[in-house]
């Protein structure tokens, strides 16, 4: 077990910079996820931790040890590859035993540990099989056993579930979490699937174009996104481009373009950096999750109530998705199916309330916010 620290890490391939100015600290025993679209630098970062790439700049530490240029075989990390990378010419037993044989573990000890690891992934009866005879999920478990049996300090998982079908994926998700808790091992999990990231992780780092945009717990990432990329990459979100009108002690007033009625935001919900961006000249947006918006039949007293018209209604089973046009913008509102959503129909005039505590002022960095 070890903590991992990455200080000012940069990785360039020729002229392309794959990862830039990365500062991360991963705690001992933590389940940490790198989340981002493909080509965002998350796998590159994982490979720098595994030692397959050396950073162009910066330092990688495990605990206090500087590991920046230590070759992969001396790092004692256990990695599960996207395609599992099982050795095709060996049996299940030999695959799992490989790391122990390298470490010259005595035969009796080796056998006990391999069988123990296979039992943990519930494959003890398959130990003599050739790996090609196993299903995708079983191969995945062999890869996990092979990585865990050497008792690595860090477990690295590179999109391990992406080659499995949906049902198996749910099963393996539970399995991986169980093993991680069993071994209490520092784990880094790379994925582009936000559902996996939110449901499994202790903390998440969100990457795009080689930059880490935010590090935080799943609820922080979801509820308090740092910028429009994080906000829109994870879940659905309404982003409204705004201009700041007034900054007061406990609230901020912003204005939608072309609207006279200001939107009021609660200061408490803004991160410290959220306030500081007011002084710089970045474009700003107000973000709000679809499920946070209230739809009202008639207007009532309260803050941030706007008149609008329903543009479309889509039924998704547990949730009903209502698009409401308010002035020039279209808001997405998610309403739970409580059997009486029949009063929503296209063209109906309604009022929407944007609760001030759920609104968050964030910088626009991608330039494609509505």
């Amino acid at each position: 077990m070890a903590s991992i620290k990455m200080e000012n890490v940069q990785k360039a391939f020729g002229k392309t910079i794959a990862v830039d100015q990365l500062n991360l600290e991963i705690k001992e025993g933590e389940f940490f996820t790198f989340l981002g679209p493909s080509g965002c630098g998350k796998t590159t970062t994982l490979r720098m931790i595994a030692g397959f790439y050396y950073p162009t700049k910066g330092v990688v530490r495990f605990g206090d040890k500087d590991m920046t240029r230590v070759p992969p075989e001396k790092r004692n990390t256990g990695m599960v590859f996207q395609n599992y990378a099982l050795f095709p010419h060996m049996t299940v037993f030999e695959n799992v035993a490989f790391g122990l044989r390298v470490r010259k573990v005595s035969p009796a000890d080796l056998k006990r540990r391999v069988l123990d690891a296979l039992q943990k992934v519930r494959l003890e009866s398959y130990s003599d099989r050739q790996v090609s005879q196993l299903s995708g999920g079983q191969q995945q478990r062999v890869a996990l056993a092979r990585a865990l049996v050497i008792e690595p300090e860090i477990l690295l998982l590179d999109e391990p579930l992406s080659n499995l079908d949906a049902k198996l994926r749910d099963e393996m998700r539970v399995e991986i979490l169980r093993l991680q808790r069993d071994y209490k091992i520092t784990t880094i999990y790379v994925t582009h699937d936000q559902a996996e990231a939110l449901s499994m992780s202790d903390r998440i780092a969100v990457f795009n174009y080689g930059v880490c945009h935010q590090v935080g717990t799943p609820t922080e990432i979801y509820n308090r996104p740092a910028n429009d990329f994080v906000a829109s990459f994870i879940g659905e979100i309404n982003l409204l481009t705004v201009q700041v009108e007034k900054v007061q002690q406990d609230n901020i007033e912003v204005a939608l373009k072309g609207s006279e009625q200001p939107i009021k935001l609660n200061v408490e919900n803004q991160a410290r950096e959220g306030i500081s961006i007011l002084q710089t000249d970045v474009d700003l947006a107000v973000s709000i999750r679809p499920e946070a918006i209230r739809i009202l039949d008639v207007t009532e007293e309260g803050m941030n109530i706007f008149k609008g018209k329903i543009n479309s209604v889509q039924f998704f089973g547990s949730v009903v998705n209502v698009m409401v046009d308010v002035q020039d913008v279209s808001l997405r509102v998610d309403v739970f199916n409580t059997h009486d959503f029949g009063y929503f129909y296209q063209g109906k005039e309604v009022y929407v309330q944007l609760p001030e505590k759920q609104l968050r002022l964030i910088p626009v960095i991608s330039g494609d916010a509505p």
Binding site: P72, G78, F87, P88, F98, V102
Partner: protein, 520 residues
């Protein structure tokens, strides 16, 4: 400068590979080139001037003959191979899969043995013409092969297979829905073939054409034996060498090398160009069954006759091997059959010793090929370094160079002591032959190993490293066992060819001392 141990490892692996290539591929070629510049003890282009403006024009004629025989060989091989590929891959009829495997039979016939078989089959006193003569009571044999047409027949027989195999592979890769889409858009059969199918096959046809062209340029046995020393460039080199005109031989070698290497480079360029790859995956073969019963039986009968013709040379060799020495001289047909030749092959020390020697040479060369091939292929496929395509070209050069030229290069390079031969003169020693086989088979082993290494995912090696294995342990326990099959099949073929090549040499030496008219 060396940043980390992986780079250092690449350098350590690359160094021996580069050294071997420079010493045994580049250096000998350069020596030949230098030799070709020497005339009357001076450095000049005189030899080249002689080559092109010589009064008797023999060299130019040989170059022209080589080129035009090669072009005709390409044409004839294509005319046989491409239709066969279509018939066997697009139509279904009884015995199709048997006929389609039988179609690659010529490939197992070593070139000299093949030429021998053709001489005994269709030559002046060949079995087939004489059988026809006796059968119909003719005065003379109705036909015989020899000269240019003889060379062409042998080339067509052995080389159509390259067209057949590459075009078959390409046909099977074509997504049937492409043609169906064209029909759907209203194109007729003829139009679909010329506008859709044929363009998709062009890369395969070009590759096969270049291959056949290069092999024909190098062809030695057919013009030598069948056409009575017909004047082609590869033979001219041999004659110049025997006559002691080393500088001329060098000049001829350089010119033949230039022609062959430019074809190799053209082929590389063509293959690396963006070609049309099929977007769809997992295409099933689609063959239309031949329904018309008359056509069906015509095809089956033609197939059977074809297989018999294809197998006749193999059968002739078998027959010849069963005829004891000296029992078939003036008779039209052999009369005595036994296994005397095989017995002698293993028992007579005069025969067995050279055989054992050649086996030993083949073993040495093949082991060297194995070690070199695996390292070179690993470096080329799995490592990044500057100058990779240069190394790649050097590896491929022995494949483009005719065997005669490789032989000449070695003679020029190692008939005096050099660093690369550890200060020894190699010409005339035991070691020159294993060295020649080794050089000749570098491309074969490297290519077959490349094919398997390219399919080996990098993550396999990374997984082993991640589990704590050092590079060498990983290589020994993981990479090598996985690529073993590909390496083995390439190496075994190299071994067989080395064993096979040893015979032509001893045959040639026999012919030289015997009364056989060597010069044309």
């Amino acid at each position: 400068m060396i940043k980390n141990r992986d780079t250092r490892l690449t350098v350590w692996l690359l160094l021996p590979v580069a050294l071997v290539l420079v010493a045994y591929v580049l250096y000998p070629s350069l020596r030949t080139f230098i030799e070709s510049l020497q005339k009357d003890g001076m450095i000049s282009l005189g030899n080249y001037q002689d080559f092109f403006v010589q009064e008797s024009k023999t060299n130019l004629e040989a170059l022209w003959n080589s080129v035009y025989i090669s072009l005709l060989s390409v044409l004839v091989s294509a005319l046989i191979g491409i239709p066969l590929a279509f018939i066997f891959n697009r139509y279904d009829f009884p015995g199709r899969s048997f006929f389609s495997s039988a179609a690659i039979l010529p490939i197992v016939l070593p070139s000299l043995v093949g030429v021998m078989a053709f001489m005994f089959l269709y030559g002046e006193s060949g079995l087939v013409p004489n059988a026809i003569k006796d059968l119909f009571g003719l005065d003379k044999v109705p036909f015989k092969i020899g000269g240019v047409s003889g060379i062409l027949i042998v080339h067509a027989y052995t080389m159509y297979v390259y067209f057949y195999m590459t075009v078959s592979a390409a046909i099977n890769k074509i997504d049937p829905s492409l043609e169906e889409a064209a029909y759907n858009l209203g194109a007729n059969k003829f139009k679909v073939f010329w506008k859709v199918t044929f363009p998709l096959l062009t890369p395969a046809i070009v590759a096969a054409s270049l291959l056949v062209f290069m092999i024909s340029m190098a062809s030695f046995s057919a013009p030598f034996f069948l056409a009575g020393g017909y004047r082609v460039l590869s033979l001219q080199i041999y004659f110049s060498k025997i006559n002691g005109d080393m500088e001329i031989a060098a000049t001829q070698s350089v010119i033949l090398s230039i022609v062959s290497i430019s074809f190799l480079l053209f082929m590389r360029w063509y293959q690396n160009r963006k070609d049309y790859r099929m977007a769809s995956k997992g295409i099933g073969a689609h063959r239309s069954e031949v329904k018309n019963p008359f056509m069906k039986w015509v095809m089956v009968v033609t197939g059977i006759i074809g297989v018999i013709i294809l197998l006749l040379p193999h059968f002739t060799i078998l027959l010849l091997s069963l005829v004891p020495d000296g029992t078939w001289t003036f008779q039209t047909y052999p009369t005595v059959f036994n296994v005397e030749n095989y017995r002698l092959l293993f028992e007579d020390p005069n025969i067995f010793k050279p055989l054992r020697n050649s086996l030993l040479m083949a073993v040495i060369a093949t082991l060297a090929n194995l070690v070199f091939g695996v390292i070179a292929s690993y470096v080329l496929v799995k490592r990044k370094f500057v100058g990779k395509s240069l190394v790649d070209i050097l590896v491929m050069i022995p494949w483009a160079l005719p065997a005669t030229v490789i032989g000449m290069n070695l003679i020029f390079a190692f008939n005096e002591p050099s660093v690369f031969s550890f200060g020894q003169i190699l010409v005339g020693t035991f070691w020159i032959l294993p060295l020649a086989y080794f050089i000749r088979h570098i491309p074969l082993v490297v290519r077959s190993t490349n094919a398997v290494l390219e399919q080996l995912d990098d993550s396999i090696e990374e997984a082993a490293r991640n589990l704590g294995a050092k590079w060498f342990y990983t290589f020994r326990r993981v990479i090598f066992p996985i690529i073993m099959p590909g390496v083995l099949s390439g190496t075994l073929l190299a071994f067989i060819e080395s064993v096979g090549n040893s015979r032509p040499r001893s045959c040639c030496t026999r012919f030289q001392t015997g009364p056989y008219p060597l010069k044309s």
